[in-house]
Assembly symmetry: C2
Amino acid sequence: MKRFNRIAAMMNYLLEHPRTQVNLEYFVKKYDVSKATASDDLNVVDSTFQEEGLGKLRRVIGPSGGIQYIPELSAEKSLEYVESLCSNLSDPTRILPGGYLYMTDILGDPFCVRKIGQIIASVFADKQIDVVMTVETKGIPIAYAVASFLNVPVIIVRRDPKVTEGSSVSINYVSGSSRKIQTMVMTKRSLRENMRVCIVDDFMKAGGTINGMISLVEEFEAETAAIAVLAEADDEEEDRVIENYTSLIKISNVDIRHKKNQCTAREFFDR
Amino acid sequence: MKRFNRIAAMMNYLLEHPRTQVNLEYFVKKYDVSKATASDDLNVVDSTFQEEGLGKLRRVIGPSGGIQYIPELSAEKSLEYVESLCSNLSDPTRILPGGYLYMTDILGDPFCVRKIGQIIASVFADKQIDVVMTVETKGIPIAYAVASFLNVPVIIVRRDPKVTEGSSVSINYVSGSSRKIQTMVMTKRSLRENMRVCIVDDFMKAGGTINGMISLVEEFEAETAAIAVLAEADDEEEDRVIENYTSLIKISNVDIRHKKNQCTAREFFDR
């Protein structure tokens, strides 16, 4: 195999296996090269990741040492992308009855969802997340995108228990905006004590749903290590029941009569 | 930028943008190289994709010509992966009351879900799919994975209408196994006439849910071009209401008393 192909193949392998420790020996055997050559090749891969703003290779020292690809989208690229989303969301035809914003097309675009996941995963790169949690339905694709860059599993919290998920734990919580009592159900096998959980959702109004997930995490004696939402409604800020979260987009001043709204990316980068 | 870095960067760009037409000019400008050099570099990328069994570059001829990366997992790699899933699913602790199989952990693993999506997308590589459709909840991650390799959007069919999705179309259908009448709802903005739809779900018993989605597609005067499920229950085959589908795994002879079941990958590759 030529060096060009080998480097490209190594890069692809690392992109497919983010945050997975790979021993140098693996590449030495796979491509039948010396340790020094494999190491040189990995330097090229590392510099490419860094130049393209895609993250870096982390060297793990010790007898079982190796490398790990840590995906990270640079702050500039993240901001650029979030701003393009904001201008897309400001389209007046997106305003729905009740002041809601139509985002189904954005959440239905796999490329867009992966970028959002990459941005959130970059913010939480050092939080030692063990698992990503979301509640059905619209947060699911974002949760998977975040999890794929953090190399951790996803737990989907349900509204009703399902026979196909085995025994479950359920809690009741108060929805923040409508003040209704609702139920959340989670498979018992999915979370263990002391795991560090990253809660992800598509949209936050008062934060009741996220608060419900925090209670579920406590029920399992696990820890909520990070909270992220794609967008938050600024107008509900007074009633907000949670603190310490990351949101990429703040939607404010939704004016149903004049079909206008304001989306800003600032909040996310001010924190 | 050195040639090694440039090739690695081009490869990364193409991996991130599958099935997107990229003009040679784009790389010529981005990396400040001649057309001949860019073309040589793309040949290296192409041969790496092919050697690694990851797909190929397709050249688009004409004045606006360029290249497209077509991701395809080779049949050997697909079979190998599906067989490893089968041996995992044969674990007796997976059998739940009612003869269901616990698959939540597999569907919660983003790496595994992406591989499943890559395998399904490879089977449908030439079907000219415009959109992937699934019904909430468990099929969603697989649908996004398939869509990301086909570079098309995802439509999530809901069980109830949601205010955040605008006006919707709903149908009633008969669930195949329980013979109950159920409802499906879809956002009106999401599907247009003559679009070619790929229906994806995690599990099929008699096929009633998939049949419901086929009716929804007809309602929009679109076309069901392909159907794929991760697993199907073999024991329900007599009652099955749909034909022409791809399933990766066949689950048969589920024996609740002796906690045994049989999972085979054969079906998928026999078709």
